[in-house]
Amino acid sequence: MSIDPVSAILLIPLVSAALLALLPGYRVGAALNVVASALSLGVAVSLLWHRPAVGLYLMVDDLSIVFVVLNCFVGFTTSVFSASYIGHELDSGKLKPQLVRFYHAMYQLMMFGMNLALLANNIGLMWVAVELATLTTVLMVGLYRTAEALEAAWKYFILGSVGIALALFGTILVYLAARPVAGEGMEAMVWTHLLRLAPSFDPSLLNIAFIFLLLGYGTKVGLAPLHAWLPDAHAEGPTPISAVLSGLLLNVALYALLRFKVLLAANPGAIAPNPLMIGMGLLSVLFAAFMLYRRRDIKRLFAYSSIEHMGIIVFAFGMAGPLGNFAGLLQMTMHSLTKSAIFFSVGHVAQVKGTQRIADMGGLTESHPVLGWTLVAGVAAIVGLPPFGVFTSEFLVISSSFSQQPLLALVLVFGLLVAFGALLLRMTGLAFGPVRGPVGRVRASYLPIFAHLALVLVAGFWLPPPLVKWFEHVATLLG
């Protein structure tokens, strides 16, 4: 019997989650976690060639495959990073050994939830999957059981649940709008059917549904003013989780939002979703850019930078058109790769220094050349300096919006510059100058950092033509 790749991509994390929950020992768990993630990545890549038929529950299309491959790739590299990171946390006694099994099982369960959300062809199933992914990350954010970690997890849980509840309300309204046309039952929740029939839906119901979906999934994307959970959850959880939160979970929520945006765009009577997205995107960029200046905690700093970047991405998708969507997709990919690389470096740095306070770190390029310079490279990439890929994508975002809305583009550029200043200011303090804090060695896994930064660097010079064609195609799908 052969298993089709879509089931495999869901079964691998699910089965390994069960195994990881049973297997004792940190080494075995970490190794299995890496192997399972690598297998998922392999299957995800195979989806590029072999695409199964669209079903009532699951499907693979050109949009979802971009997200799935990215998801599995960062999931894999993070599992490699996590192996060395968690090992150190155990040695230093910060993490209780009995929780490691739980952590690994939750990691794979989270991957399952995210993959399921990305492959779902059913808006109800997609909601359940996003909920599952949220739940598992809440549990992992509270992993250290310190007062701060619990507060962060609690805040994340409450805000995330309210967001997810609103998203479900929006989903129900979409069903109500679809029912007169698509008929009762499962058909009216299948996205491919919905898209075909969307032009004849009741537009006013669809409008209200989108507001709920934007607020609901927007909370999970971390858009201002719904972002309150995000910095805490990034700062207090284990760093691998910060990396997947920024690099993947925000994308998954964004993906859900994009699906509904396409639905709305197909209905001529519905409001345009774009101005709403542009507004929230710009607000997030500006807000996060100014907040960056007052951060004293290194992981919080980069969490705000994630809010800023999600703002840019949502802004780009809001600008729409083939160029805007292309820029949004590229920016999303680049941000995922760069931000997780930064969190990998930051995680090891925080372990060496024994603190996350920026004031207690300094001169990293001198004391820890590899970590220091990768951090410098990561920050240079994330603020959009050439020759990195973020420069290309931000350039595209700005130029595509200048042709449509020059004034809004100016606001965006202003926000980017403010954030640029803040991050460079902090980075120089961290990387150069006198050495501050402990200078002990760290058994770091540099490979994931190098892999991510290399990809971002290559993307800055040269995007493979098939990839460009693919993104262009997806961009036209997004309308």
Binding site: L135, R145, V162, R179
Partner: protein, 221 residues
């Protein structure tokens, strides 16, 4: 049986849920609040069971049974035990400005009706009013979560919010996955809230007042 009567009963039950939500808003004692939560879930169970009956959708009885067994009996019982264990059963929670909160609640209900009724005119009449009333319950649940400082009351607020969503989902005739979604929500509540957080929060702080959590805000000046 005429359609009119079955619609009226459906609306009465949904309206009853909104009413019980209002009852919740002004409870300043945790135990009383838990009683009202039970009542809320009972009304929800009745409403869902009625929908199952008039829609001829037997699977909805599972959701109704879940609401009754899990949300009306089990969860309030566990929460009650926790309240006693923590010795906060005599405490009176400061619910700032009951009058103002009630007024805000009324405004939210008006808003929900104003928003939902015009756009659902094409949908069948049961769903039409049910959705509007369900949104009211959701809104009042959110209002409760913002006005309360106590973690337990926030959980209660979230549960009432979730009841509103289940009401909406069952009111939408023929909606698939409702049972699955109600199970997912029950897991959400059971697993996280009861199992992990309150216990840990209790261990860490000897209080479940979320202001104690705010004081220990990490790393942020």
């Amino acid at each position: 049986m005429s359609h009119g009567l079955s619609f009226d009963i459906a609306h009465m039950l949904a309206g009853g849920l909104v009413l019980v939500s209002f009852l919740m808003l002004y409870q300043d004692r945790l135990l009383a609040l838990l009683h009202v939560l039970s009542l809320h879930a009972v009304v929800l169970a009745l409403s869902v069971a009625w929908q199952a009956w008039i829609q001829d959708a037997p699977h909805l009885f599972i959701t109704a049974a879940l609401a009754l067994g899990f949300k009306a009996i089990l969860i309030p019982m566990v929460l009650r035990r926790m309240v006693f264990q923590m010795g906060i059963h005599r405490e009176i929670e400061t619910v700032g400005g009951i009058g103002l909160t009630m007024l805000a609640g009324i405004a939210l209900v008006a808003l929900s009706l104003e928003v939902m009724l015009p756009v659902t005119s094409d949908v069948d009449p049961v769903a039409r009013e049910d959705i509007a009333l369900a949104l009211s319950v959701v809104m009042i649940g959110m209002l409760m979560m913002v006005t309360r400082r106590n973690a337990l009351s926030q959980v209660v607020g979230f549960m009432s919010l979730e009841n509103g969503i289940i009401l909406a989902a069952t009111g939408a005739r023929g909606m698939p996955l409702v049972v699955e979604i109600s199970v997912a929500f029950s897991i959400l509540i059971a697993l996280i809230v009861i199992g992990v957080f309150l216990f840990r929060i209790r261990e860490q702080f000897d209080t479940i007042d979320v202001e104690a959590l705010d004081r220990s805000r990490g790393g942020q000046e």
